[in-house]
Symmetry: C2
Subunit: 163 residues, 2 copies
DNA sequence: AGCGGATAGTTGCCGCAACAACCAATGCCA
DNA sequence: TGGCATTGGTTGTTGCGGCAACTATCCGCT
């Protein structure tokens, strides 16, 4: 017996579904235009830029970017071809691969970050009051509990490194 | 001078970005598995099923599904090949095309809807309290104001048709 | 009437994502 | 130490989304 959505529930869901459809494109187009990066590529470079020694294992990088390993593998491949990342086989466990940000990759993030952050502010952060920002955080936690508990765990403890 | 994100802002943004990455996949996989439809295809069929005469102009359908016209055109093409939609050139304006849900298309929505709604409940609606649902609605409105005002207008006035 | 611009859609091409199949190294246990 | 399941990644194929170019119709103006 299906419980259909009532008007309140539908309202919330349609808004979320619309955002799901619209926001990625808005993020992509700025990054593509200004830095020739996809949002996902930016995320990958950004995570590496904050990691100790600018290096992460593929599987760790995958979990921090919410990607599957095959997807990440392809993306890292392309970023390596462009000279932003180097792949180093891990000596202690030779199945594993470490992805390391190159100097050029670091420069790329540094160049891309300001425009991207401006865009995120313009599209999201600055649209919301501090209360709404907190509400969004709480709502996000609820949804991530179901979608991917380990993502939630990692996001919850995340602190921006001091630059 | 870029204003970087502080810890609260980053927290909210990372949660939203993660949801952007994870939720679409979770929606897709249920629909693909149970009904061999993408989430976007479902949305298209669903909008048609609620329209008068089960018919909408391509451009109107595009705006209700937050799609570009080229994208919609491709998708409708495939749905037509599968027998779920018929395209009829509009007599009053022969540039325009009307997309109409066929009987088979109607049956498809009817068959797919319960599982999809269950999934939406499981992933989103039932994870949130009534207050959070209202907060999500308000936050969604704020973001849609910037992302796509006409989408917001349409979503705001939307009411589920009585079945 | 007829020309120019705007509107409505379609088509072709390219790039990325999902999935499955695959390979290689490791750990475990007989 | 040999066999086997597990883990960590990579590769190949397929299908969808985005963009740009194109066609066809309509509208306005002279």
């Amino acid at each position: 017996m299906t419980r259909w959505l009532d008007d309140r529930e539908i309202g919330a869901w349609m808004r979320l579904a619309s955002i799901l459809e619209l926001l990625p494109g808005a993020l992509e187009s700025q990054l593509r235009r200004d830095s020739d990066l996809s949002h996902f590529e930016y995320w990958v470079l950004s995570m590496l830029s904050e990691a100790p020694d600018r290096t992460l294992r593929m599987s760790e990088l995958a979990s921090r970017t919410n990607a599957t390993l095959p997807r990440l593998s392809h993306v890292v491949q392309r970023l390596e071809d462009r000279g932003f990342i180097a792949r180093v086989s891990c000596p202690s466990d030779r199945r594993a691969t470490n992805a390391q940000l190159t100097e050029a990759g670091w420069d790329k993030v540094v160049q891309a970050a300001p425009g991207h952050v401006d865009n995120v502010r313009d599209l999201v952060v600055d649209r919301l009051t501090p209360e709404e920002l907190e509400q969004l955080t709480a709502i996000g936690d609820r949804l991530l509990d179901r979608l991917s508990p380990c993502t939630k765990a990692w996001v919850t403890e995340y602190r921006r490194p001091t630059r």
